[in-house]
């Protein structure tokens, strides 16, 4: 449908800064509409024109040269601003999540804004046994009833935990529903689609940014099994979109804008993981469509600025960027590759299970009555999560803390249940070289609890991802992998300790040596599960080793990532984000898909044999009235222009969004243009005869170089052309005569049909 608001739009735009503050940008003349695909070639040529104009003008005066320099530097300024804002928002989110997660359990008397860890910072305990005590931190039962221990205290704490969780999630979903419905979900599938050339107005707007930031904190704090990495990418892209408006170079050109958005996505991952290089690689591998080398350097700059800003806000109080930054350098041994590969297989299997389960559940949500009660659904899932999570200490704490605990090596000073090994009282080894020890009862109890937590997390995440709240899945996947890895690690460690004379352990593990590090197994497991779900390769390994700071562990991480990708690819070809793109029917032409069928362009083009013939405009024989009737009767995006209807020789292509304002403008401004005027698409129309009305010359809006293929071009080549050039439509000719038209939607439908999917699910125009 062509809703043109240019008349009212231009008036609204001229009325002051208050309006700019209050409204989203209004589509201007010739700009794209909502849910349309952009024409990359057109955007590129517009940018080249703009650049040429600036370069030629810069020779005129000093002021023009300065303007030229400013234009060249505008990209870097935008990157700087994006990095600053993304880092700031990530710091705010981290601090708020830290506080609100602990708010479910208790309050700090020294200042209500302190989380549990920050509250304990100020404790003055000096004895070793009391090193975990925190008199300033009071649980809710202590505050309300005065009893720190006991059955009634436990029940009261349980109740208040569930109530807080429900409050947070209800608040979150109400805010999303009321103010910014586009703020729900992860955001990465939609950003992938936007970066491939699709327009979704409002998806990267100011309200979406605000609501996503606020409700992300609420969603994570409510104890739901979701993470904040995917939404942080969305938040960073919103920041990118926000700053594009500063410079017309980016605000008026959708193609250039996507370069900025690619870099902003890199900054988002960078602050989520504290991994700038990993962020750039993630943007390159997962999110972006076209990634020129210039964007690589600028993304790196944005990611670095964002990481630096986050570091200066210092949310975790120790100059680290991520809660689970570990830094140990214990070596690993070749024989350990066997359990690492087993963890990779587990990761692949879990990835397959998760993708299938989640897509089935989301499809149910989309098609049945379940989708009509989003708020109730969120509340129900939160209630179930909170009720089952509280009794198990490993699910009660926030997932980031769980991962941090699992990644950590057990030094002599750790007092957690997982580190309850039987210590040799005469041992005098330094902190990071403690030999393998027998597991105490605490470790066995921990393993049971961890197994239960694993099953719980596997099940609940399938139902949580995709709810109408901001939800990411990096952290839950890593948690599942870390739990599995740690259990395997403890198993191998105990086997090595009790049976160090077996053949497999004899060569590398002597009694009294520190052979096995369960924390490393947890890391490898986390990488395997994350790789199985998202099918990331290089970016995953780089993120994991930037998280750990240990280059020694690249080989185990790679082994696990590769194995999990192979196993997962054996069961299903696509990762979770592509699966969601297929589910929603976004018009995304995946560059990783391979098209191997032997169809030709003539099989796919429109019009088919049963359809009415192609609507074309002629070079000089149609009146204004005819053209207007054609525009009104059809809703095509553009019309080919031929010499005459009989010869069908192609001249060019004219876009609807250029035609309508041109005709409207001509009627208003030019005298003598009436309904009977002939429309000419030539440079020199024939001279006027007698009292015939003034002709309407539309030479300027005609695109003289539309892309054409012949009817016998194989579809493989056509798909390649669409992918590499970012075309929106392509004309099909035979012996120089126009035969039909192929649009991107037709190509996508054809690919879906060939892959036995439902071609009618491809949506939009």
């Amino acid at each position: 449908s062509a809703g043109y608001d240019m008349a009212t739009g231009s008036e609204m735009n001229g009325s002051g800064n208050l309006m700019d503050f209050l409204e989203e940008s209004v589509p201007e003349v010739g700009m794209y509409e909502d849910f349309y695909t952009i024409d990359w070639l057109r955007e590129k040529s517009r940018d080249t024109d703009r650049h040429r104009k600036i370069t030629s003008r810069s020779k005129e005066s000093l002021w023009e040269r300065i303007k030229g320099l400013l234009d060249a530097w505008s990209g870097w300024v935008v990157m700087l601003l994006i990095g600053l804002l993304a880092g700031t928002l990530a710091g705010v989110i981290d601090l708020a999540v830290d506080w609100m997660t602990d708010l479910k359990e208790g309050v700090c008397l020294a200042g209500f804004w302190f989380s549990h860890e920050q509250c304990c910072w100020t404790s003055n305990e000096t004895t070793f046994e009391d090193r975990d005590k925190c008199p300033q931190w009071k649980t809710w039962s202590e505050l309300l009833v005065g009893q720190p221990e006991g059955a009634s205290a436990y029940i009261l704490n349980y109740l208040i935990y569930v109530l807080w969780a429900l409050t947070f999630s209800f608040l979150g979903v109400s805010l999303v529903k009321m103010f910014a419905p586009y703020a729900c979900g992860s955001g990465i599938p939609e950003i992938k689609t936007i970066l491939s050339g699709f327009i979704i107005r409002g998806y990267l707007g100011k309200w979406t940014l605000l609501i996503k930031t606020v409700t992300l904190v609420l969603a994570v704090s409510s104890g739901l099994s979701l993470g904040k990495e995917g939404p942080l990418v969305h938040v960073a892209c919103c920041c990118g979109n926000l700053f594009c408006c500063l410079f017309s170079k980016y605000s008026k050109n959708e193609g250039k804008r996507r370069e900025v958005l690619s870099a902003a996505a890199a900054a988002g991952v960078s602050v989520a993981f504290g991994a700038p290089i990993g962020g750039v690689l993630f943007s390159l591998e997962e999110v972006s469509y076209y990634f020129p080398l210039k964007t690589l350097w600028r993304s790196f700059f944005a990611a670095l600025v964002a990481a630096f800003t986050l570091r200066s806000i210092n949310p975790f109080g120790n100059s680290r960027l991520v809660l689970f930054y570990v830094e140990y350098h214990t070596p690993w041994y070749m024989a350990e590759l066997v359990p690492f590969i087993l963890l990779g297989v587990f990761g692949g299997l879990w990835g397959t299970l998760f993708i299938r389960g989640n897509i089935a559940w989301c499809r149910k949500r989309k098609n049945t009555k379940l989708g009509r009660y989003p708020v109730l659904e969120v509340i129900a899932v939160t209630a179930i999560t909170a009720i089952f999570a509280f009794p198990n200490q490993y699910t009660r704490q926030s997932t980031s803390e769980l991962i941090s605990e699992l990644f950590n090596d057990c030094g002599a000073l750790e007092s957690s249940q997982l580190c309850d090994y039987i210590n040799d009282p005469n041992m005098t080894r330094p902190v990071d070289d403690i030999p393998d020890r027998a597991a105490g009862p605490g470790v066995y109890a921990a393993i049971w609890q961890l197994a239960l937590a694993l099953i719980f997390k596997i099940v609940i995440t399938i139902f949580t991802f995709g709810m109408k709240m901001p939800s990411g899945l990096f952290i839950p996947s890593m948690a599942v992998g870390a739990i599995a890895g740690r259990m395997v690690g403890i198993g191998v460690e105990q086997m090595a300790y009790h049976h160090h004379d077996w053949f497999i352990f004899r060569s590398w593990c002597r009694p009294g040596a520190d052979c096995v590090t369960p924390g490393l197994y947890a890391m490898v497991g986390a990488a395997a599960c994350l790789g199985g779900v998202t099918r990331m390769t290089v970016s995953l390994v780089v993120i994991m080793f930037e998280l750990t700071g240990g280059l020694e562990y690249i080989v185990p991480l790679m082994a696990a990532a590769v194995t999990s990708k192979w196993v997962a690819d054996a069961f299903g070809k696509v990762g979770i984000y592509e699966a969601h793109i297929h589910l929603n029917g976004y018009p995304f032409l995946d560059s990783k898909d391979e098209f191997r069928h032997r169809t030709l362009a003539t099989d796919v083009m429109r019009p088919r044999r049963t359809e009415p013939p192609l609507s074309v405009l002629t070079q000089g024989s149609m009146t204004v009235e005819d053209v207007e009737a054609l525009i009104k009767d059809t809703d095509y995006n553009g019309f080919p222009v031929v010499v005459t209807k009989e010869s069908e020789r192609l001249i060019g292509f004219v876009q609807r969004r250029d035609l309508i304002p041109a005709i409207r403008n001509a009627r208003k401004v030019q005298d003598g243009v009436v309904s009977n005027s002939i429309v000419y698409f030539t440079e020199d129309p024939p001279p006027l005869l007698g009292n015939s009305p003034c002709p309407l010359k539309l030479w300027r809006i005609l695109n003289l170089s539309p892309f054409t293929v012949t009817d016998h071009t194989p579809m493989e080549t056509v798909v390649d052309i669409f992918r590499k050039l970012g075309l929106r439509q392509c004309l099909v000719t035979r012996s120089g005569r126009l035969l039909g038209i192929l649009t991107k939607k037709d190509v996508l439908r054809h690919m879906a049909q060939m892959a036995n999917q439902d071609p009618e699910s491809i949506m939009f125009n």
């Binding site: 208050l18 601090l95 000096t126 070793f128 529903k177 009321m178 949500r365 002599a412 005098t428 330094p430």
Partner: protein, 181 residues
């Protein structure tokens, strides 16, 4: 765009001002935890030293073991340099709660107070609405633009437009399930 820049600049300025002026002595420390050794109980030592002096020799005072055992004792101790900014935490949490509170108030206003105001205006509206029956666009009807010069009217218009956009988004996501399902 102005909003984002203004917010960010304000926040960073507040951070810098606050963090430079008052770094209270509680916010920086070197913490050494020493486990039990032979017949000594474990102990925790805190001291406000710089990062390069954050090791067992500078922080553990008075040293509980004689000179030749110091090295063995110190190998067991774990020293960490910790730094935090309480004012950052306080400012951030308070800003966040303010924003959530403001959104809640606005939500209450939109859900409760606004329909009441609209009901009063609806007696005047029907006359205008009959003239432009086809107009379903999110822009105010053209004859009303002549009046749209005062700031209040413009804010009204912008708010109406925004409400319609959110309504459209809500229909796409929640009702028709076309996106984000």
């Amino acid at each position: 765009m102005a909003v984002g820049t203004v917010f960010m600049v304000l926040y960073l300025l507040v951070e810098l001002a606050v963090s430079d002026s008052s770094k209270s002595s509680e916010d920086v420390r070197c913490k050494c935890i020493c486990p039990p050794y032979r017949n000594l109980t474990g102990h925790i030592y805190n001291k406000n030293v710089s990062q390069k002096d954050c090791n067992c020799l500078h922080v553990v005072e008075p040293m509980p073991v004689p000179g030749r055992d110091v090295e063995a004792y110190c190998l067991l101790c774990e020293c960490k340099y910790e730094e935090r900014s309480t004012t950052t935490i306080k400012v951030t949490i308070i800003i966040y709660l303010t924003v959530v509170g403001a959104l809640l108030v606005y939500m209450a206003f939109l859900m409760i107070v606004d329909p009441l105001i609209r009901k009063q205006d609806s007696y005047i509206q029907p006359l205008h609405n009959e003239e432009d029956t086809e107009d379903t666009r999110p822009f105010a009807p053209s004859h009303a633009q002549a009046r749209a010069n005062t700031v209040l009217e413009r804010v009204e218009g912008a708010q109406q437009r925004w409400k319609r956009q959110v309504q459209e988004q809500r229909k796409t996501v929640f009702d028709r399930h076309k996106m984000l399902s």
